[in-house]
Symmetry: C2
Subunit: 206 residues, 2 copies
C-alpha cells in the first residue's frame, strides 16, 4: 500500500465512522480531517466535496458487505434459512454492542440523503441490492423447501424491510424488544412457508 | 386563537415541514424564521434551541396521527384487517405523491436524532407507540379470526417494521416496487394466519 492510498483509505474510513455515528449533515470535512489526522489540503486533494467523500464511503460499504456482514455468518452456518437468520442476528449483536445506537449505516444514509444527493442514492440502492442478493441466494438454495409459488425475490426484499424497520424501532425505544418481535414474526412466516412446502413434497412423494 | 398561539403554531408547522423535507441537521432556526415569516426574536421567544422546536414538532405529530393517518382510513373502511392495509396504503399514496421522497417523518427523525437527543428519542418512541396502538386495536377487533396463539402485540410491531423498512427501500430505489413487495408479503403472512384461524373455528363448530 502506498502512502497516498493509505492516507485516502484513512480519510474514507474516518468519514465512514463519523457518518455512521453522527450522520452525514452533522459531520463536517473539518471533523474528518481532524479525526483522520489528515491535513485539509490532503483531504481536498482526494475529495473536493463532502458528497464525493460520501460516494467513496458508500463504495467502501459495497466492499465491506462480504467480509463484515456475510462471511462471518456463512463460515459458521451452512443451512441457507439459518444463514438468513444468522445475518439478522448480526444486526442484533450490533444493537447489543452499541446499546441500540447507530443502527444500519446504509439505512441511516438512505433516509438522510436520498432526496438530495442522487449519486449517493444510487450507491445506497446498490448496497441494498447487494445485501438482498445474498438473502436471495440463500432462499434460492432452499427453494425445494418452499411452496412452489413463493416469490423469492419479494421475500428477499421483505427480509431487508424487516431488518431495517426493526433496527429503527429498537433505536427509538433503546430496547431490543421490537427487533426480537419483528424477527420472531418473520421466523413464524417463514416456518409457515416451510411447513406448507414440506406438506407438498410429502404429498408428491406419496 | 390568539395572535401568540397562531405565531407559535406557524413556526412549529414550518419547522415540521422543513425537518420532513430536508432533515433536522440540514434545517437551521434561521430557515424556520424565514419560511414562517417570524422575526428571530419571536422564534427565540418560543423556542430557545432547535431541539426545543423539534420537541414541539414531535408533540404535533402525536396530535396529527388521528386526523391525518388514521381517521381518513377508518372513515371509509370498516373491516379491521383492511384498516391495517388501508393505513399502509396511505403511506404508499404519500410515496406516489412525493415521487418516493420524504417518506415517514418519524422514521427519518428516528434514524437521524435518536442517539444524540434523548428527549426527542422519547417522543419518537411515543409516536411509534401511538401508531402501533391503532394497529393493535384493529388486530384485537379481529382476534377471533386469528389462531388463538397469535401474539397481536408482536404482530402490531411487525406491521410498523414493514411500513418503515418498505418506505426506506422505496426511497432508495425511487420506485414503489419494494414497498409493494413488502406489503404483499405481509398480506400473504396475515392471510395464512387468517386461513388457519378460519380452519380452527370451523373445526370448533363441527
Amino acid at each position: 500500500m502506498t502512502a497516498t492510498s493509505s492516507t485516502r483509505d484513512r480519510i474514507v474510513e474516518t468519514a465512514r465512522l463519523l457518518f455512521w455515528e453522527h450522520g452525514y449533515e452533522a459531520t463536517s470535512l473539518a471533523d474528518v480531517a481532524e479525526k483522520s489526522h489528515a491535513r485539509s489540503g490532503s483531504l481536498y486533494h482526494f475529495f473536493r466535496t463532502k458528497e464525493e467523500l460520501l460516494l467513496a464511503v458508500l463504495d467502501r460499504y459495497v466492499n465491506l458487505l462480504w467480509p463484515i456482514v456475510i462471511e462471518p455468518v456463512f463460515s459458521r452456518v451452512t443451512d441457507p434459512i439459518e444463514r438468513v437468520f444468522g445475518i439478522l442476528d448480526g444486526y442484533r449483536q450490533g444493537l447489543v454492542y452499541t446499546g441500540c445506537a447507530h443502527g444500519c449505516p446504509i439505512g441511516n444514509l438512505a433516509l438522510e440523503v436520498c432526496d438530495d444527493l442522487p449519486r449517493a442514492r444510487e450507491k445506497i440502492a446498490k448496497n441494498f441490492e447487494g445485501w438482498r442478493g445474498w438473502i436471495r441466494k440463500c432462499l434460492d438454495e432452499a427453494k425445494d423447501r418452499f411452496p412452489a409459488n413463493v416469490n423469492r425475490e419479494q421475500l428477499a426484499v421483505f427480509v431487508l424491510t424487516v431488518m431495517e424497520g426493526a433496527v429503527m424501532q429498537a433505536r427509538a425505544h433503546q430496547n431490543l424488544e421490537p427487533y426480537d418481535a419483528s424477527v420472531a414474526q418473520l421466523r413464524d412466516y417463514i416456518n409457515r412457508l416451510l411447513a406448507e412446502g414440506a406438506q407438498r413434497s410429502k404429498s408428491t412423494i406419496q
